[in-house]
């Protein structure tokens, strides 16, 4: 069953990439660092390199966390759509296979300042 309806019912997806002025949405989050209440919503051009995304908006956004300045981006573990994944920092988001509304996650197992209190 898709939708109970009196006749054939087809919806139009509201947040298609074509509605985002040539750009796209990318969701990014830092595992176990929940000072940030939800995954970030980033608005980026698909031609932007992964390095620009990380060293630009992502680095700026994580600074309020006490571990923010200590992240070594070459060492973090990455996931895309919840699967382990290795980005190429020099290539674009599109070439890295980061599509519209994709969720990327990163892990820093050694940085745990605000983790669970003892």
């Amino acid at each position: 069953m898709t939708v109970a309806a009196t006749k054939e019912y087809v919806g139009v997806a509201r947040d298609r990439v074509g509605n985002f002025n040539g750009k796209q949405l990318v969701y990014a989050s830092w595992d176990h660092h929940l000072l940030f209440a939800a995954p970030f919503l980033l608005y980026a051009a698909p031609q932007m390199s992964f390095r620009e995304l990380v060293e630009g908006p992502l680095t700026a956004l994580v600074q309020p966390d006490p571990d923010g300045a200590a992240i070594d981006w070459t060492q973090v573990e990455w996931l895309k759509s919840n699967q382990p994944w290795t980005p190429d920092f020099e290539r674009s988001l599109a070439d890295n296979g980061i599509g519209h509304k994709d969720q990327i996650r990163f892990r820093t197992p050694n940085l745990t300042t605000l983790a669970v209190a003892a």
Partner: protein, 505 residues
């Protein structure tokens, strides 16, 4: 010619028959299917509409009389409240945020329920049902009006009340409630009755109204207590209607059971997400707290809800699918949402604040297994940032749930350190969810939810991320309606006026 004398008054039973069941007729020149085209497509089978029992047997003339009496009492108190500066009797200006949540997220829901009941009153073929829905439609619009009227007095003095309708439609923390009603109103009449009449009015209404109304009483807000009382006797009737409707569906045909159960699963979870706002109000926004959200859940969710589902077990109904996840979320949700409201407070039409030492002591006593372990370290760090002059503002905004539309602030049911990541692909598009419950709702009717207007993506699609334009569009006045309570115009005014009322300086 002598007129034959008629009996002056009808008996109660006769009056009920004449003024409800007798209002129906057998159509002569259209078929019933043409007149009631939405009565069957949801798959609910009804064999005899006359089996509908109206436990209140209320007729329109009596209804007008009762409601008029309540209106007179209500307006007498509201006028007194306005004339006596009742707004200065509240415990603290922070309490106003609880009222803003109510006015922005909940009161417009009353209006939506009014529209919905007007519609289903037309769409149901049974006369008893039509009359009951019509009365509830009038109740709901009265509730919306009395609430807006009562709170309009606060709008004369404080910020964040003036554009509640825009805030309701467009503001990211309110669309959880808006989407709940939009979803119900775009469903068929039977699903609407389960969504509003049963889940909202019966399963959840105590958790929604009791905390706000007792919260109002505890915090000196007579205006809100008054509209609570004025609505209370209606709510009893609504709850009975909701329960009657579910029993009617289940008794009419055994094929109705799986459909009804599916709706219960869906609408319990959708309602539980709306309660996220209520939990935050209870645990964080009331200067003088009634009970914790956890305690309210124990009484009204676990005990009352549990008893209800036990009672319905004889029809084959089991507790809603999300029940266990809800229980696990209860010790976390208010903290998770308040952390979000605070870090995105540049985009809220209400004030939030960092809990004081006393607040945190209360929270750790009420949430002994979770607050100190998970949430206190975050608040203390946020407090440290504020002390250094760096108020924590998260300009990264948030990924929203495609179904409930809340920012995905929730964690895995069994791991409170791990954000809940759920996604699916439908017709080549990615969709994200805050929970298994919301993902299930989507997957049952994807064509419906792919159309959802999500407030944060819309900021980029429609306004290319321009926050200033967005503020204009949601009628948010920067520096007045938003931000930390400490240092706000509301705080300054409340303290100054209260000072004038209680001291000589």
């Amino acid at each position: 010619m002598d007129m034959k004398a008629t009996k002056k008054k009808l008996g109660l039973k006769e009056k009920y028959r004449v003024m409800t069941r007798d209002l129906g007729w057998e159509p002569g020149y259209h078929t019933k299917e043409e007149i009631f085209p939405y009565a069957t497509y949801e798959g609910i089978k009804v064999h005899d509409w006359d089996k509908w029992e109206d436990p209140f047997r209320l007729t329109m003339d009596a209804y007008w009389k009762y409601q008029a009496e309540k209106e007179r009492k209500f307006y007498a108190i509201i006028d007194a409240h306005a004339q006596n500066n009742g707004h200065l009797n509240i415990t603290d200006g922070r309490y106003l945020s609880a009222l803003k949540v109510f006015l922005q997220a909940i009161s417009p829901g009353e209006y939506a329920a009014h529209k919905g009941f007007s519609r289903v009153g037309r769409e149901f073929p049974g006369v008893g049902t039509q009359v009951a829905c019509q009365m509830q439609a009038i109740d709901e619009i009265r509730h919306a009006q009395t609430q807006i009227h009562a709170l309009s007095n606060y709008n004369k003095y404080y910020n964040g009340f003036h554009a509640f309708a825009d805030a309701r439609d467009r503001m990211w923390y309110n669309t959880v409630a808006r989407s709940f009603f939009d979803d119900a109103m775009s469903a068929g009449p039977f699903e609407f009755m389960i969504a509003i009449g049963f889940s909202f009015e019966y399963v959840l209404t105590n958790l929604l109204f009791v905390p706000f109304m007792s919260g109002a009483a505890y915090n000196g807000d007579m205006a809100t207590v008054t509209f609570g009382f004025s609505a209370q006797s209606d709510e009893a009737r609504h709850m009975t209607l909701g329960l009657e409707c579910i029993k009617f569906m289940l008794e009419q045909d055994p094929d109705n059971l799986p459909i009804v159960q599916g709706w219960l699963d869906k609408w319990f979870w959708r309602g539980f997400r709306v309660l996220g706002l209520v939990s935050t109000m209870m645990d964080y926004m009331l200067p003088k707290r009634v009970m914790s959200w956890r305690e309210a859940w124990e009484i009204y969710g676990v005990e009352n809800g549990g008893a209800l589902f036990k009672d319905l077990a004889r029809y084959g109904i089991r507790p809603p699918k999300g029940w266990d996840d809800a229980e696990k979320a209860t010790d976390h949700m208010s903290h998770q949402i308040m952390l979000g409201l605070y870090q995105w407070s540049f985009g809220t039409s209400l004030h939030s604040w960092i809990p004081s030492d006393e607040d945190m002591a209360w929270l750790s006593a009420k949430y002994p297994t979770t607050f100190d372990k998970y949430y206190r370290p975050r608040w203390e760090h946020i407090r440290k940032l504020a002390a250094e002059g760096k108020q924590f503002k998260n300009f990264g905004l948030a990924k929203l749930c495609q179904t409930c539309q809340l920012p995905i602030v929730f964690t895995e049911p069994d791991d409170p350190t791990m954000a809940c990541h759920r996604e699916t692909t439908y017709k080549g598009e990615k969709y994200h969810f805050c929970s298994d419950g919301c993902q299930h709702v989507f997957e049952n009717e994807p064509e419906k939810y792919i159309q959802a207007w999500l407030p944060m993506p819309a900021l980029f699609a429609e306004l290319e991320g321009d926050i200033g334009k967005w503020m204009d569009w949601v009628s948010l006045r920067d520096g007045q309606d938003n931000g930390d309570y400490v240092g706000s115009v509301d705080q300054r005014n409340f303290e100054q006026w209260r000072g004038l009322a209680t001291s000589n300086s």
